[in-house]
Homo-oligomer: 352 residues x 3
């Protein structure tokens, strides 16, 4: 928590314009409803515009289109992003490196960067290299040959298997497993012969991964998570998947082997992708979808098997009417037959 910044200093940080007193000192932030004097708040949803007049906050971050009601304000194009940056500013604390603490188990051949912290109960095997300012929490296990970049945080219970590589500024939450064996077996009569999984996982810079997620090592080569991608809890990334940069993968998504995601793909919760499928840049896959074939860049799809989202909404709206449609169809068939039967003699009569 910092002592306070002036409104102008915050505007400079956010790339915004001050309306009102640039020297006003801001000590923290809060929501429109709960902020108090000295704090700054933000208006992201125009629905709440009227609250700007009555909030107890001392300043408001809002868009050029919004009414300031004469309040001190910072005008920006994206108040939600500004809020994220301010929250980071007011809640981040200076990094403290505590070194290798008593009770941690670090192999003599491992290399630990400067200002890193290794908590009691962590296990760092032979040949591991850990960058500067890393934080390795309790009960993290790094198998032989793992390499971590700078400013990495691994929360308690994370395991990183043999030889996997993790970039800079990566955060992995509790219980997540990186580099467990891919699921590969060759049929041998009625039984299964394991295919050794000797590839690795590479996680690029600025990735964040949630809790209890699993990312399997490649069979022979690399399972890759691209720079800036964010993965939620309980997600399955199978062997040989290649995930592009800046993707958003929501909880409980499952990707089968050798799936390829382009850049900035969004996958809703519990969606699944079959093996070897390729997803184009900026595609959006709705929650619970099942994807069995190529998805074009920018496509928005949903359902199992997934189709265009708008098309599926329309079909889903018809689904509850299926029983009535089937009845109507049967009745129509009956009416038609009756008509045909009555029509023929009638026309014959008429023609006779």
């Amino acid at each position: 928590m910092i002592a306070g910044k002036t409104l102008q200093e915050l505007a400079d940080l956010l790339g915004g314009q001050v309306t009102g007193d640039p020297l006003l000192r801001i000590t923290g932030l809060g929501t429109l409803d709960h902020a108090t004097e000295g704090q700054i708040t933000f208006l992201a949803n125009p629905r709440y515009a009227a609250k700007v007049e009555i909030t107890r906050a001392s300043a408001v971050v809002l868009t050029p289109a919004a009414d300031t009601f004469g309040r001190n304000a910072i005008v920006v194009t994206n108040p939600y992003l500004a809020f994220a940056k301010l929250l980071t500013l007011y809640t981040s604390r200076p990094h403290v490196g505590r070194g290798v603490m008593a009770g941690a188990c670090v192999d003599k051949g491992a290399v630990i960067g400067e200002h890193a912290t290794v908590y009691p109960g962590a296990y760092i095997a032979e040949g591991v290299r850990i960058g500067d300012r890393a934080t390795i929490h309790h009960n993290v296990t790094l198998y032989a040959g793992v390499v971590l970049g700078d400013d990495v945080t691994l929360h308690s219970g994370v395991s990183v298997r043999e030889g996997c590589r993790i970039g800079n500024r990566v955060t992995i939450h509790n219980g997540t497993v990186i580099g467990s064996d891919g699921f590969g077996y060759a049929p041998d009569g009625a039984t299964w012969c394991k295919i050794p999984q000797i590839g690795i996982v590479i996680i690029e810079d600025d990735v964040e991964i949630g809790a209890n997620t699993t990312v399997d090592r490649a069979a022979l080569e690399i399972t890759r998570i691209g720079r800036g991608t964010k993965i939620d809890n309980l997600v399955q990334v199978a062997h040989n998947c290649i995930i592009g940069e800046d993707c958003i993968i929501v909880a409980q998504v499952g990707m089968a082997g050798s799936v390829t995601l382009g850049r900035h793909v969004t996958m809703g919760g519990q969606a699944g992708i079959a093996g070897h499928v390729v997803i184009g840049d900026n595609a959006m896959i709705s929650g619970q979808s099942g994807v069995f074939g190529t998805v074009a860049a920018g496509a928005v799809i949903s359902g199992t098997p997934a189709i265009r989202h708008q098309s599926r909404l329309k079909s889903a709206a018809v689904f509850p009417h299926l029983p009535e449609m089937r009845k109507t169809l049967a009745k129509l068939g009956g009416r038609m037959t009756k008509m045909e039967e009555s029509h023929e003699p009638v026309s014959q009569t008429a023609l006779s």
Copy 2:
């Protein structure tokens, strides 16, 4: 295992009536098929009523409607509940508090209640408070400021993150993570800016949570699990969810951010709820459902998107007939066109 109770003592415990010998001593319990002499068994499903006559058990718990076949019996309204209570009675063991065991890592500022056990490999950070008779298994990690009530059991590998609060008589199974960061990012051009997650998780009294489940901390305020709610394995509860009392959440369910569940809601396995959706009291959501909008109290729904369960069953029964319906529809169109074409000249002829 206790030495034995009389039939009358068990009846008093269950709030039931003895038929037969109230002084009969019961030493344990078993199923209708496998119970032996000295044991008590129960009849919950009327289908097995005939087994009451031939079971080797010395007594039977059954409803007033069931035939005792002259056996010693305890008559209750809910034999299944009685079975649960008897099983608890005969299998529970006296609590033994072993204190902080060698190999546990407990910060000096942490407070551990009376008769608690902290196993080797557990890590208790600064400011943690643990109630009486708590059992903290191997490799549990409690981050700074965590508060646990009395009679809490945390199984091996559980992590509870900074400042989260857990009530009395809560049991959490292995590998579950409480209070990992919610999944919140603001778009910043083509990349994503993390929104710090500074809220907490509150778990109320008498909650039980299964293995490898994840409950994320709120962005700013509270993610809450209501009193008496039971959550199964591999469930995802996202940030800011508010779950009511006495809910049943089956394995692999996923709830997106800010979902609200009323009291006594039942969610079947693998069901998912989209963000900000509100579910009414006593609603039942079938397994694998996808819920995208408000659900009324008491509603029974299923499917993706979820509709009334009975309606969906009827539509699902029609689904396999879609290809034949489409063909029939096309043929009917053809027959209609033919009819219309033949009809017009015919009627003209007839009218001419």
Copy 3:
């Protein structure tokens, strides 16, 4: 890594026939594209047959039907299986038993087999028995009375609960939980009374289980995973499930209580099975399916509720046409009514 085998030695291992130089020495293996001199490669997919001519590998494993292009070769019926066996041969290393390492916590009453390794941070409770050549990684927790066979590998973070039994040559990946309580509660008015889960889990020989999977202990008796079955990551196996031999269970599958799987059943990712359902031998259940009733041996099913896979593909192809079908149906109804109305007076006219 071995020093090298002759082509004849490899052919003998694989049960294949040498074409070319049987004394050729092979030092490793690689793919058709990446293998180098001295290595052997394989052709499993006929699409790549032309690469046999140009690969830099010194020998090729292929089927009798494939053209060797005059290369040194081993001819086998199943090159993919041969590849798995060769990869195992060239990547496996001699077992090294390191014993109970400093920092491991092993109860005095536990029995550890010969040439086993117990890593620092593992916790082995009273009454545990571990077979020969077992590898117990960091932070594994074995509760009281657990029994492991020979050649078992438990990766970091695995927990095995009270009394569960694991056979020979079983590998369990990181964070998986065996024997957590089944999800069983009896309704007690508006609240829930826990049914103690006092059964166990038995995992038979040659099973492999992925990361962060959960297998619950039975209520009273046994949850069983049959010999040779392979289970992927994040799978839920509920209490009292009986899984047959040589099944393949892909990631994020969920099985509710008391499900029975026959032999050699395949379940695609994210599929779910409702409680007490029985699946016949060799059945194949497509990814994301929801199974609510008995499945016959050899059946191939998909969808929710699951139906025959081929039938479902046909219905799914019609699904996007539902809105147009509904419109067509309504129009046909209108045309029919018009026809019926015009028909009657017409025929009356004609008949008059």
